[in-house]
Symmetry: C2
Subunit: 158 residues, 2 copies
């Protein structure tokens, strides 16, 4: 809980305080911890949200398509869909036109579940950015987006 603090004052080697990648990494670990704990408190998981969102916004689709849109590895998607199916939030039905395919459909309960998860995660994001003004939140978002875009294109060092 306190070990992910970036700066421990005079206990922190100066060289570490210069590492942005370290700061980003530790802050990401903090936010992941907060959000995963909040989701686990209601028996949910990051991927539940991301899969339900993809289904709600893009409609029924094959697992391969869902994996692509939700950015979840198809290998990991299987377990996620099993859990969502157990909860009654999605339906998995074989595609009559292509028997290799499963058609994944979100249920009415799934829509409600998605709203629930969305609420929880909104609260989490508000909590994370609590010390920032609205402008600063937007700035942080924009700066990170630019870094992310940049690193998405040129993964190697110059």
């Amino acid at each position: 809980m306190d070990d992910l603090r970036f700066d421990h004052g005079d206990q922190t080697p100066e060289r570490l305080r210069a590492q942005l990648s370290r700061l980003v990494g530790m802050t990401a670990a903090q936010t992941q911890r907060v959000s995963s704990e909040a989701l686990r408190a209601i028996g949910a998981h990051k991927d539940h949200f991301v899969v339900l969102a993809a289904l709600a916004e893009f409609g029924p689709a094959s697992q391969a398509a869902v994996a692509g849109r939700a950015r979840v590895y198809k290998s990991d998607l299987v377990a996620v869909l099993n859990e969502l199916e157990d909860g009654g939030w999605i339906r998995r039905a074989p595609d009559p036109t292509d028997k290799r395919r499963n058609v994944i459909t979100i249920t009415a309960a799934g829509d409600a579940r998605l709203a629930e998860l969305d609420g929880v995660l909104s609260a989490v994001n508000n909590h994370i950015t609590a010390p920032l003004t609205a402008n600063e939140r937007a700035q942080l978002f924009s700066l990170l987006t630019r870094v992310n875009d940049h690193l998405s294109g040129s993964p190697d060092l110059p």
Copy 2:
């Protein structure tokens, strides 16, 4: 390489685009990948840097002290010190005044190694923030620091 891109345009569910924690997490994964690859290219590791830095800046110390300052779990420190010892970058000597303790000392070669790692990581951090101006880098650093500080204090939701 491209799967850690936060925004895939119209292929990305809108709900995901609102999640700052997701953006932070993906960007952190990118920066970690870049830096760990750069370090691995010279047979090094994050913890090598962090431990050598702690030793160089605070002087010889017990493993427990090093673990505290370098923010490396003492469990994981053992392997790191073994590797650093094999490279001749540190010395591990039993403390004569307290036989439970090992005194870790950085060697001259260790100082040189630290300079090398420092150079690599500086290049990495420059690369990461390449699209940002100096002002924007400072802003990003400041915003993340405030979030990190905030989350270091109140880990739970309100």
